[in-house]
Symmetry: none
Subunit: 130 residues, 4 copies
DNA sequence: GTGGTCTAGACCACC
DNA sequence: GTGGTCTAGACCACA
C-alpha cells in the first residue's frame, strides 16, 4: 500500500498518516489481521521521525483500528471495527455542519454535494475485486 | 444572531467564530449588506480577545464573505459571494475523503451518510426567498 | 499541592505525576475548576522534561480528569468526573486479582487486606475540613 | 491447570504467566511440592518464547514461590511461602494507593471497593484444607 | 506565554 | 529486533 505525505501541508504528518491507513482499511487494501510495518521501518521508509509514526499508531490503536500485538507487532484490528455510536454521529454532524454552511453560501446545491460524497464512497466500494 | 463558543474545544476560537458567521449567512440570519458588530464590540460581547475576533474577520474578508470599510464598519458582502471554483471543490473533496473513509470503516452506508448531509442542508433551506 | 517524583522508580515519571494529581483531586487538595500549572512551569518546577508533563496531562484529559481550556489553561474538570462504568469495574477487578492472589499465598487474611484498603480510603475522606 | 495469555495486553507475557501461577497456588490448584512443566515444555505448550517462560520462573524462584532443581525440575515451594514482611506491606500500600485514589474520584464508596476485594478473596478460599 | 507538532538521539523492557 | 520512555531543542498556532 502506497502512502503519500505532504510535509508542507498544515495537516499534521501523523494525522495524514493516520488518515491514509484508515483509507487503506476502508478500501480493503489493508485487511483485518494484516501486519503493518514497525514504527522504525515505516519512519525510515517515509523519511520521517519514528515518534511521528508512533503517534499515528497510538491514535489508531486508541480508536480501535489497530492492535499492538506482543508477537505479531502492529496489526489491523481483526475483531471488527468500532461501531458508529451516538457520540460518533454527533462528531460527524459537527464536522459536516460548517462544511455544508460554506458550501451553501457558495451556491452549491444539495444534489451536487451529495454527488461528491457518493463519488468518494464509490472509491471504497470496489472491495469485491481487490 | 446568537453565537456560542466552546472555549474547551480543540477547534480554535477564531475558527468557531468564522464558521458561525458563515452559518448565519447560509441560514439567511445575516443578509448581504447587513452590518456586523465592530471587532471591539464583538470581542467584549463574547468575552474574548480582540485579536481573535480580528483574525476571524480578516479570514472572512479574505474569503470574500464580508467587507471591512474604514467608515461603514464591517458588512456582509453585498455583491454576491465567491463562487465554488475548481480549487474549492478539490479542497472540499480532500476534506471529505478521510471523513468518509472512517465512516466506511465504521460500517456506515452511503445512504446513511447522504441522509445526514441532507438533514444539515435542510437547516439552511428554510429561508424561502434567498 | 506538593508533588514528589522518584526518578529512579520503574513506574514511569508521567504515570507518577498522573497518579499524584489524581490523588490530589481525591483528597480535595485540587478542586474542580482549579487551575493547574502550565506544562512548562510544572516541568521546570519538577526538573523534568516538558513532554513528560504533557504526556501526563494528555492522559488525564483523555480520562476526563482535567480540561485544557483555551483561555484558563489547564483546569481540573469542573463538570463532574467520569463515572465508574462496567469497563472500569472490570479493569479494577483485573488489577486487584493478581494482587490478592499473591497476598493469599503470603498468608494475608481478608480482614487484614480490607483494613489496609480502609486505611487508604480514610486518607481521602478528610474532605470536610480542607 | 489452565493458563490463558493475552498477547495484546500491555501487561508483559512473563508477568501474566507469573500471576497465573501464583493464582493457581492461591486457589490450591497447585500444591506445595507439585511439579511444574519444564521451561521448554511450557513454552511450546503456550506457543511463546523460551526466554519468556524462563523469566517468569526466575522471578517466581526469586520471590520464593518455586524451586528450580537441576534434577527434579521445577516444583512449587514445599517449605512454606515467604511471609508478608514490612517491605511487602509497603509495596502493597504503594500499589493500592493510586488505585483507590482513582476509585474515590469516580465516586466509589469504601464499602463497594471492599466488597469487590472480598469477592476476589472468596475465589481463593474455596479450598477447605489448605 | 500557552499548548501542539516535529525532529533527534538515547536507554530500557520485552520477545 | 520490537515498542515504551525520557530528554532536548526547535518552530508554529493560538490567545
Amino acid at each position: 500500500m502506497l502512502i503519500h505525505l505532504d510535509l508542507e501541508a498544515s495537516d499534521p504528518i501523523y494525522n495524514q498518516l493516520k488518515n491514509q491507513i484508515i483509507a487503506g482499511i476502508a478500501k480493503g487494501e489493508l485487511v483485518p489481521g494484516e501486519r503493518l510495518p514497525s514504527v522504525r521501518a515505516l519512519a525510515q521508509d517515509l523519511g520521517i521521525n519514528l515518534h511521528t509514526v508512533n503517534k499515528a499508531y497510538q491514535q489508531l490503536k486508541q480508536d480501535g483500528f489497530i492492535l499492538i500485538h506482543r508477537q505479531k507487532g502492529v496489526v489491523v484490528q481483526p475483531d471488527g471495527f468500532p461501531e458508529a455510536d451516538e457520540e460518533y454521529w454527533q462528531g460527524l454532524q459537527k464536522t459536516l455542519h460548517p462544511l455544508i454552511a460554506e458550501a451553501v453560501c457558495r451556491g452549491i446545491k444539495r444534489e451536487e454535494f451529495v454527488d461528491l460524497c457518493s463519488e468518494i464512497f464509490k472509491e471504497f466500494e470496489k472491495q469485491g475485486g481487490k
